[in-house]
C-alpha cells in the first residue's frame, strides 16, 4: 500500500468515526485539531483502523501516537513488515 493509499484509507476511517465527510487529514493533524477526538474516540479510531487495515497494534505502540503522521507511519511499517 502506498503512502497515499494509507492516507486515503485513514481519512475514510476518521470520517466514519467522526461522522464527518469533510474531514481532511495532514501528517501534522493532532487530537486538538479534530472536534471530538478525545481519549474515548481515540480507542474507536485505533479499533476502526485495525479493522480497515487488517492488523493489530501493540499496547506499547498505542502509547506513542501523537499525530496523524505517526499513525500513518506506524500503519505503513506494520503493513510492510508482513
Amino acid at each position: 500500500m502506498t503512502e497515499a493509499e494509507v492516507y486515503s484509507n485513514l481519512t475514510s476511517v476518521f470520517r466514519e468515526v467522526f461522522d464527518d465527510d469533510t474531514l481532511q487529514l495532514t501528517p501534522e493533524t493532532t487530537a486538538d485539531d479534530v472536534d471530538g477526538w478525545d481519549s474515548a474516540a481515540h480507542v474507536s479510531l485505533v479499533v476502526a483502523a485495525e479493522m480497515r487495515f487488517g492488523l493489530r497494534f501493540r499496547t506499547a505502540e498505542l502509547e506513542s501516537l501523537h499525530n496523524v503522521g505517526e499513525f500513518a507511519q506506524l500503519i505503513q511499517s506494520k503493513l510492510e513488515a508482513r
Binding site: E16, V17, V43, V47, F57
Partner: protein, 646 residues
C-alpha cells in the same frame, strides 16, 4: 464469528447512511435510521446511525411515529461502557425501542445505588443493568484457601449484589439486569484449575452459579455474558487484554453491535416487544428436497444421512421453542394434503402436526399467507419470525412486510438453529407453566374453530363450549404469569401500562385497589390465566370511584364473552365495596385499536379526562347503581379477598 449475521447485508451501508443524513425532515430521518439499523453493521456504521437517530430525535421526531417505544436504561458498570451505548441504542431501533441510555460514572455503581446520584434519580431508569467484571472486587483468597472459605466469600459477594438489586428496585421500581462475569485472566493451573477451589477461574465460575441462583430468587434478569463467551469464545472482542490495559474495556468496540443487541433484546422483552411465533417453510427448511416431487420416501430427514440429521436437528430445536411457548406455524408453497401427510406419515419427523398452531400450505404468495397466519392467531405481524431457506422469498417478505422478522440463513442447514438462536427474537423475561402449555392451547383453538364451523349459530356454539371463568385476587401463585401478561400483551390492552412484579404485588396488597387474575376453561381444556384487571382509586378522581388502570386479555380467548363476564365480576365487587362508579381509560398505543370501543361496548358512557391524564387518553364511566351485567354464556367463579393493611 460474524456479528449480527441474521440481519441482511446492505449493498453499501456507508453510502446509504450518508444519504439519510441529508434528510431534512426529522421524522423521515428517524424512520430511515430505524430501517438502516436493521442491516448488518460494524461499530462505525452503528455509531453513524446512532448520530442520525439522535439528531432526528433532538430535532423533534416522535418515537411513536416511527413505531418506537421509549424506554430508559441505566448502566452501572465496573469497566468502561460509554462506547457501548450507541450499539445498544441502534439495536433498540431495530427492535422497535427508542432507548435512552444513562451511563453512571465508571466504577461508581455502589455509590450510585447506595448513596446519592442525582443524575440517575432524575433519569428514572426503567431498567438498571449492573455490568460487572471478574476483576472488580476480587475475593482475594490465597490459592490454598479451603472449599468452605471460598463458599463463604462467594456468599458474601452475592449478598452484596442482592443488596444493590433491592436498592435499585426500591428506588426506581426498575427491572434489574445482572451481567455475569467473564473470566478475564487465563488459568494458572491449566486443566487442573477447576479442582482448586480458590483458583481464579473456579471462583468466577462459582460466582456466576451463585449469581444466577440469587437472580432467580430476586426476580432479577441476566445478561449472561459468561455463556456468550463460552459459546463464541473471547477472541471476538471480549476481555481483550489490549483494550483492558488501554481503556478498561471488557467489551471492545469490535463486539459493540452484538453486545448492544444482547442488551436491547432484554429491554425489548421487558417492554413486551419480543416476537411470539416462528413461521417455518417446509421444503429445504424442515427437510431436504421437495415433498411434492420427491415424495415421503425421497425427502432427506433423519438418521442415515448427514443432511437428514441436520434437518432433524433443526426440527428438534423448533420443537423445543414450541415447548417453551413460542407458537409454531407453517407457511409453504405446497399442496396442503401432501404437506400434512409428511407430518403424519414420515417416521422421523420431530415436529408433529399437532405442534403447528396454524398450517398454511397453498400456492398463494407468502406475504398474503403470513397476514393470514397473524390474523388467525390473533397476533400482530410484528410478532412473527419467518424462516425460509429461499433468499428470494426472504427478500420479498422483508419488502412487503417489514414488520416480520426474517433472519438471513447460512447456506448450510446445520447452522439454522444457531442462527435463529443468535437472532434473539424470542428473548423472554419469564417462563411459566402457562408457556409450556401454550402450544397445546393453540392446538385446542383449532378444535374450537372446527366446533364453531359445525355449530349453526354463535350463541349455540358459545353455550356448547361449557365455559367456566375463575376470577380471583392476584396472589403469589399467579403473580409471575400476571406480570408476564401485563408486559407482553399489546392488542387487547386498554392502557399498555407495564409493571414489574414488585409493582403488581404492591397493588395486589393494597386494600383500596383491586387486582384480578382471570382464567378460562371449557370442554376442550384449560386456557390458563388469560386476563388481568388492575383497578385503584386515583387522586384525580372523587373518593368512591375506581380507575381501571389496566385491563388486558390474551387474544387467544377473543370473542368468548370473557369481557362481559369480567365486567359482571367488577360490578359485583364494586357493589360489595360501596364503590359508586368505575372509570375506564383507553390509551392508544398504535397497536391496541381493537379495544378502542371496549368500554362503549360494555355500556360505559364517555366522560371528561381527569386532571393529569395523558392527552390522547379517552375516559369512560359506569355508574354502579344503575349498571347491568351484559349477557354471556360463562359460568363464573369468584374468589376475591380484599387485602388487609398490614
Amino acid at each position: 464469528m460474524e456479528q449480527l449475521a441474521w440481519l441482511p447485508a446492505h449493498p453499501d451501508l456507508a453510502v446509504a447512511i450518508t444519504a439519510a443524513r441529508r434528510e431534512a425532515d426529522p421524522s423521515a430521518a428517524l424512520v430511515k435510521a430505524v430501517r438502516l439499523a436493521g442491516y448488518r453493521r460494524d461499530f462505525t456504521a452503528t455509531g453513524r446511525i446512532d448520530k442520525l437517530a439522535a439528531r432526528a430525535l433532538s430535532e423533534g421526531a416522535e418515537p411513536a411515529a416511527a413505531g418506537l417505544m421509549p424506554y430508559r436504561l441505566a448502566i452501572l458498570a465496573s469497566h468502561t461502557v460509554d462506547h457501548l451505548a450507541p450499539g445498544i441504542r441502534v439495536a433498540g431501533l431495530a427492535r422497535r425501542l427508542a432507548l435512552s441510555v444513562h451511563v453512571a460514572p465508571y466504577g461508581q455503581y455502589r455509590q450510585a445505588l447506595l448513596g446519592h446520584d442525582p443524575e440517575l434519580e432524575a433519569f428514572q431508569p426503567q431498567m438498571v443493568l449492573l455490568a460487572l467484571d471478574a476483576r472488580d472486587a476480587p475475593l482475594n483468597l490465597p490459592l490454598e484457601a479451603s472449599e468452605e472459605a471460598v463458599a463463604e466469600a462467594v456468599r458474601g459477594r452475592v449478598e452484596e449484589l442482592r443488596t444493590l438489586w433491592r436498592r435499585a428496585r426500591q428506588r426506581f421500581a426498575a427491572q434489574v439486569v445482572q451481567q455475569t462475569l467473564v473470566a478475564a485472566d487465563p488459568p494458572v493451573f491449566g486443566s487442573f484449575e477447576g479442582l482448586v477451589a480458590a483458583s481464579p477461574t473456579a471462583i468466577v465460575e462459582r460466582l456466576n452459579v451463585a449469581i444466577r441462583a440469587a437472580a432467580r430468587e430476586e426476580g432479577v434478569l441476566l445478561l449472561d455474558l459468561a455463556w456468550v463467551a463460552a459459546r463464541h469464545g473471547q477472541g471476538i472482542g471480549l476481555a481483550d487484554p489490549v483494550r483492558w490495559h488501554q481503556a478498561k474495556q471488557l467489551v471492545s468496540h469490535v463486539l459493540a453491535p452484538f453486545y448492544g443487541d444482547l442488551v436491547a433484546r432484554i429491554a425489548g422483552a421487558a417492554a413486551g416487544l419480543s416476537r411470539k411465533c416462528l413461521v417455518l417453510d417446509l421444503d429445504n427448511t424442515l427437510w431436504g428436497g421437495v415433498i411434492g416431487d420427491d415424495g415421503i420416501e425421497g425427502i432427506k430427514l433423519g438418521q442415515g444421512s448427514a443432511t437428514g440429521e441436520a434437518f432433524l436437528s433443526f426440527q428438534r430445536y423448533a420443537a423445543l421453542l414450541g415447548k417453551r411457548g413460542v407458537i409454531l406455524a407453517v407457511c409453504s408453497k405446497n399442496d396442503l394434503a401432501v404437506a400434512e401427510a409428511a407430518f403424519t406419515n414420515h417416521p422421523e419427523m420431530a415436529l408433529r402436526r399437532a405442534d403447528i398452531a396454524c398450517f398454511v400450505a397453498n400456492w398463494t404468495d407468502k406475504a398474503s399467507n403470513l397476514r393470514h397466519i397473524a390474523k388467525t392467531l390473533n397476533i400482530g405481524l410484528d410478532s412473527l419470525v419467518f424462516v425460509d431457506d429461499n433468499p428470494a422469498e426472504r427478500d420479498i417478505i422483508r419488502r412487503e412486510l417489514p414488520e416480520v422478522g426474517v433472519p438471513e440463513l447460512p447456506e448450510d442447514v446445520a447452522g439454522y438453529a444457531e442462527r435463529v438462536a443468535d437472532a434473539g427474537y424470542f428473548e423472554t423475561v419469564s417462563f411459566t407453566a402457562d408457556d409450556a402449555a401454550r402450544g397445546r392451547a393453540y392446538a385446542l383453538n383449532e378444535e374450537r374453530r372446527a366446533a364453531l364451523e359445525q355449530a349453526s349459530d354463535m350463541d349455540g356454539y358459545l353455550r356448547g363450549l361449557g365455559m367456566v371463568m375463575t376470577a380471583r385476587s392476584i396472589g403469589a401463585g399467579d403473580l409471575p404469569r400476571a406480570t408476564q401478561l401485563i408486559n407482553k400483551t399489546n392488542q387487547f390492552n386498554l392502557t399498555t401500562r407495564r409493571y414489574t412484579e414488585a409493582a403488581v404485588e404492591e397493588l395486589a396488597t393494597n386494600p383500596e385497589a383491586l387486582a384480578l387474575s382471570v382464567r378460562l376453561s371449557d370442554k376442550f381444556g384449560d386456557n390458563g390465566l388469560i386476563s388481568v384487571i388492575l383497578a385503584r382509586p386515583d387522586p384525580a378522581l372523587p373518593r368512591g370511584e375506581l380507575l381501571i388502570d389496566t385491563w388486558l386479555m390474551s387474544c387467544r380467548v377473543l370473542g368468548r364473552q370473557v369481557e362481559q363476564a369480567t365486567l359482571g365480576v367488577l360490578i359485583e365487587e364494586a357493589r360489595r365495596r360501596g364503590i359508586e362508579a368505575l372509570v375506564g381509560e383507553y390509551r392508544p398505543s398504535g397497536r391496541n385499536s381493537m379495544v378502542a370501543e371496549h368500554y362503549a361496548r360494555l355500556g360505559f358512557t364517555p366522560c371528561a379526562s381527569p386532571e393529569g391524564a395523558q392527552p390522547d387518553a379517552l375516559f369512560w364511566r359506569l355508574e354502579i347503581g344503575t349498571a347491568t351485567v351484559p349477557a354471556h354464556f360463562i359460568q363464573v367463579e369468584t374468589s376475591i379477598e380484599q387485602a388487609v393493611m398490614s
